[in-house]
Symmetry: C2
Subunit: 342 residues, 2 copies
């Protein structure tokens, strides 16, 4: 293939590629309730529905083995898979794993990877039920497909947000992004140094958020116990700006979020300042937060706040108002699309 | 990671790696009926069971884009996924696709890949319900996860073969392997030639078997219509020798197959002779046949032969007899294990 005779994928923008590729797909089985366009597909299984989601991580893009311990990588791969099911308000029960492994990957390395995967599975009550390991010319590729189960009527899609709904997020944002920046900085600084001793003091929280994200099963359990069903929900993996735009696109609505309400951890702000990065950019566009972004009806405000697990950062508006970030002085800034791979 | 301080994956042998990695896995959900060790996992869904299987193909190992048209590659990727479900005697209904794409892959290339995937989905009545596209530093990686459905009592595992059962295969073997050799030869011969014109005359069948394998849904339909339930079944992807050994390992039995009964197509023998390859080696170890290998009780012999779709190549024996190929002069040769990645 000659790159010059074709269109670069990056030129299609954030939603363009998926829209283009999925436009041709037809639905042939009545059991297919929801295909592309959400965190997981939804398949009718009679008594219940099955949620199905696939995710790929490639070496050098999604992780750097020079500082990402394989045990953590296995853990994170599983958490990413589980979170796509949780974002549909469902419980993940099974995962399958496909690995592409180059000659540099030893048996011991795969042991560590599987140890981390099994550790995450144990923590979240999931079974690793199968896999495929194939050779690869270049590096490590991990593909996780997660399967979940729910009652049909409790599944939450990206498409249900309504005007005046409250926009909620779990935990603070931008920490994983700054954790990644810290690891990259120490790698750069210590390149070529014998017995390198990276300086991570004071930033352990950022490293943990990047290397060992959580699956937010506690959130959907808490919502369920309080009788709160979100109107829409998405896994925060691409950054708040991008993921909120996904909700607004699917729900055909706009949104207003307030800058001073976006929770940013102290370590995140501190390192961002040290590295001359705007912490708000880290929170909006950093990605890999692996928290939940969801909407609830305005009437649920008190109930949601009583959970103590969630921050309300804004509300849903009519579509023509766009997706807007409101600064402390009341200025509205339109939130932009992101690049293809983040 | 330092390769020298660890164990190379290839040293573990054919079954060693999977056994080692899956040994630590625990089962936590009662809905997990069968985990690793078959063509697909089996998950209880109440009225029916769900089959789940994942498969990865990497550029330079599983395909060469210099001669593998992307439309065919998409088609083949789906067929490989579907065949894992069919090998459990079930119907595939949904697939999800994860792609790792490097900068050389254009939008038009992905269009062609998706066109081929959708073509296969249409042919076999499957819905492509979701996917993930991520950047990759090196080449194209395709991971397919297929989902199928069956009644619990009709699922066929690798583990059900019994002494005296007949060993059956669909279609002839080794053709895909010789198709691959032909493509590799022409690539080598024409390397550096302007306007290369590869010589494929007389070998179109071999190319088709390699580039566009079939999903054998017609076989399981025919078996079902005739009331024949195989005692064990496997997708012929790693080569007859390796896949038969998998059946024997899972079923704790031995097998005797007869060399002169292994069907080999005329084009396969002809090209093998031309390229100084033993056609029996191509049939036994070539792999990528994507046909079905299954066993039926001896009492089904007539019924199976009347189908006209199947060859009986031998029978199941006691485990201590081993897995043996019988030559025309009556000599028995033990069938060996294969390498890791084929």
């Amino acid at each position: 293939m000659n790159k010059k005779t074709g269109t670069e994928i990056s030129s299609l923008g954030e939603f363009g590629l998926i829209d283009r590729l999925t436009a041709r797909l037809e639905k042939r089985n009545a059991t297919t309730l929801k295909a592309a366009g959400d965190d997981a597909a939804v398949i009718d299984m009679g008594e219940s529905v099955m949620l199905l989601s696939t995710d790929m991580m490639t070496e050098g893009i999604d992780f750097d083995l020079s500082y990402f311990p394989l045990k953590h990588l296995g853990y994170k791969a599983i958490v990413r898979g589980i979170n796509d099911i949780i974002a549909m308000n469902a419980k993940a029960e099974q995962v399958v794993v496909a690995l592409g492994v180059s000659a540099k990957i030893t048996v011991e390395a795969l042991d560590a990877l599987y140890e981390g995967m099994e550790f995450a599975c144990k923590e979240y009550g999931v079974d690793l039920v199968g896999g495929d390991t194939t050779a690869s010319l270049n590096g490590l590729t991990i593909s996780i497909t997660a399967v979940g189960r729910a009652k049909k009527e409790t599944v939450v899609y990206r498409s249900g947000a309504k005007e005046h709904d409250l926009i909620c997020i779990t935990s603070n944002l931008g920490a994983a992004y700054m954790g990644l920046h810290l690891l990259e900085r120490e790698k750069r600084v210590l390149s070529g140094v014998n017995n390198p001793e990276p300086q991570f003091e004071g930033y352990d929280y950022l490293l943990e958020r990047y290397l060992k994200p959580r699956a937010r099963v506690n959130i959907i359990n808490a919502l369920s116990e309080e009788g709160i069903t979100p109107t829409s929900m998405i896994d925060l993996s691409d950054g708040l700006a991008s993921d909120l735009r996904q909700i607004c696109k699917s729900s055909e609505c706009g949104a207003r979020i307030y800058l001073e309400r976006i929770p940013i951890a102290r370590q995140t702000s501190q390192l961002a300042e040290e590295m001359h990065i705007d912490p708000v950019i880290a929170a909006l566009n950093g990605g890999e937060d692996h928290e939940l972004l969801f909407t609830v009806p305005l009437s649920m405000q008190e109930k949601v706040m009583q959970l103590g697990l969630v921050d309300i950062i804004g509300h849903i508006t009519r579509p023509e108002a766009g997706v807007v970030l409101v600064t402390p002085d009341g200025e509205g800034i339109a939130l932009k699309a992101q690049a293809f791979d983040r």
